[in-house]
């Protein structure tokens, strides 16, 4: 590890799901990818191309069939046990009987933080996501966007160096979504965490990412990696010509090869 420390390496990874009846799904085929520390990577591609699977392999929620994955130089299992990553899914997945604060503190509680430290950390995070006034509310009293913010705060609770996010904004309306994207950009600049971000939205991927990884299905593989080099990511970028170039590049990459394969990707 010298000049550019590496967060995640994925080397020639295959993932085959075997159903009990013996049917096989080749979810990932010969996938290789390297994510630098602090880098924001988006995975984009049509439904079923293995985006979630790739993320789950990195998180050690599923096991690889062949190849190798390292997370901060360790096996995914070791990284999971060391709490090296934070994770957020499409559904906020808050526990309904816990208050907003208690939901944010869940990982801290599980990992044996002192109550005082937990409170301090959750205060910070509540401030960060702008929900300090809602600390004692229950999830069913929040809007979808607020819930998602809580889920993101929870994933940040232990200051992970790596964030894994599977369509965290998928269930949000366009306005909330853009707002959340802005917040996420600010958060990442603040924390310096590397992010692997799964999305169906081309503009979202382009707006957020240092690199967009385009995948295609059957078997799931990486077809192209598009570098984006914006000087700043703010509201102005959304109107910028460079942004539209990025969108076009990603769209072409998605539609290249097989046009039909790009179904299921939102062009918004």
């Amino acid at each position: 590890m010298t000049a550019k420390p590496v967060a995640v390496t994925v080397t020639n990874v295959d993932k085959i799901f075997r159903s009990r009846k013996g049917a096989e799904v080749h979810a990932l085929s010969d996938v290789s990818l390297e994510v630098a520390a602090g880098e924001f990577i988006s995975l984009i591609g049509p439904s079923g191309c293995g985006k979630s699977t790739l993320m789950r392999l990195v998180a050690d929620l599923d096991g690889i069939t062949s190849g190798e994955i390292t997370v901060f130089g360790k096996t995914p299992e070791k990284a999971r046990k060391d709490q090296d990553y934070g994770i957020a899914f499409q559904q906020a997945g808050l526990l309904p009987w816990r208050s907003v604060r208690a939901n944010i503190e869940l990982p801290l509680e599980i990992h044996g933080w002192e109550p005082r430290d937990r409170k301090e950390r959750s205060d910070e995070l509540l401030e960060l996501i702008g929900l300090a006034d809602f600390a004692d509310h229950k999830p069913d009293q929040l809007s979808g966007g607020m819930k998602q913010r809580v889920a993101i705060a929870r994933s940040l609770a232990e200051r992970p160096r790596l964030l894994l996010m599977d369509e965290p904004f998928g269930a949000l309306d366009e306005i909330t979504r853009e707002h959340m994207q802005n917040e996420l950009v600010a958060l990442c600049q603040e924390t310096g965490a590397a992010v692997i971000f799964v999305t169906h939205s081309i503009p979202e991927a382009v707006f957020l990412s240092d690199r967009v990884v385009v995948m295609s299905p059957r078997p799931g593989r990486i077809t192209e990696v598009i570098d984006l080099d914006f000087s700043s990511r703010d509201e102005e970028l959304r109107e910028d010509a460079a942004f539209y170039e990025g969108v076009t590049a990603v769209r072409n990459a998605l539609h290249g090869g097989e046009t039909a394969g790009a179904r299921g990707v939102e062009n918004r």
Binding site: R56, A59, L61, R80, K81, Q83, Y85, I87, F89, Q91, G93, L95, P96, W97, L106, P107, E109, I110, H111, K138, D140
Partner: protein, 290 residues
């Protein structure tokens, strides 16, 4: 609040309606009941078969028997009811503990589920009448030091046998209810099985458990009353129903007193379980499961 008041009013209205139907049928129905062919479809309306509701009530305040020093009837019924309720409560507690334990076992090990679940279901097809003498006989062979198996313990065991089933089945469903996104999250936190149980699975199973606990309470009460009869344990409502029924022709109103006692046990046990539900209210926020 007004919602609760309405519920109470409806409850009272229901009781009054039941009493009214009783009296109206008694007043209008034929003495020998409604008979179609050889089958009596509605009971006789004589005072022996259907005493007036007010006679039943008045009877509660007279002595149990004409013997000197006999307790007043309601007091005797209340004591018997308390005795049966105590046994039912013990049976319920054992049954719930056992049911939860089995559910945990089945959740923890898939093989345990396929090995145990069929037996759990099968256990409930054995009629109570068949197991009561068995339990009594096995129990009578247990003597550990000064400990001596007694009949009331057999009754409690039988009550627990009926109570454990709904708890085992519902608890298993509840323990398995968290969506995979939640269990994945706990795995991502490398939470132990125990932590996942405490912070995720048990809280998620509360909405499934509350109705099961209520059902278990009803089963425990029925089990206690029936087992008292088939094991021959005195002192409870079950035996009292049988004893008083023997005097039905001479004192028809008295027969209904222990039945009122059984209803009382049912109400009290349902109330106690409802209290548990109130205590666990915060875990049922998402509303009851389908």
């Amino acid at each position: 609040m007004s919602k609760r008041a309405a519920a109470v009013l409806w409850g009272i209205a229901g009781v009054i309606a039941a009493l009214a139907i009783w009296e109206i049928y008694k007043a209008l129905g034929p003495d020998e009941g409604v008979v179609i062919g050889d089958v009596t479809v509605l009971p006789r309306t004589t005072d022996i078969a259907m005493p007036h509701t007010w006679d039943v009530l008045a009877r509660l305040f007279e002595p149990v028997t004409r013997a000197a020093g006999a307790d007043v009837l309601w007091w005797a019924v209340l004591q018997a009811a308390a005795f049966s309720l105590g046994i039912a409560a013990l049976g319920w507690l054992i049954g719930v503990t056992f049911g939860l334990g089995i559910a945990l076992l089945m959740q923890r090990w898939i093989t345990a589920e396929s090995a145990i679940l069929p037996w759990v279901v099968l256990s409930q097809t054995v009629p109570l009448i068949a197991i009561a003498p068995l339990v009594r006989r096995w129990g009578s062979e247990i003597t550990i030091g000064s400990f001596q198996w007694e009949n009331w313990m057999s009754v409690a065991v039988i009550a627990s046998y009926l109570a454990f089933f709904p708890v085992a089945v519902s608890a298993l469903r509840g323990l398995k209810s968290p969506p995979s996104a939640d269990t994945d999250l706990f795995r991502a936190y490398s939470a132990s099985w125990w932590t996942t149980l405490r912070k995720l699975r048990l809280p998620s199973s509360v909405p499934y458990l509350i109705p099961a606990l209520r059902l278990a309470a009803a089963n425990a009460v029925v089990g206690t009353v029936v087992a008292e009869v088939s094991i021959g344990l005195g002192g409870g409502i079950g035996r009292m129903i049988i004893e008083f029924a023997a005097t039905a022709s001479g004192d028809p109103a008295k027969t209904y007193a222990p039945i009122l006692g059984a209803v009382l046990i049912g109400l009290v046990s349902a109330g106690l379980v409802a209290l548990i539900g109130v205590g666990l209210r915060r875990y049922t926020r998402g509303g009851a499961p389908a």
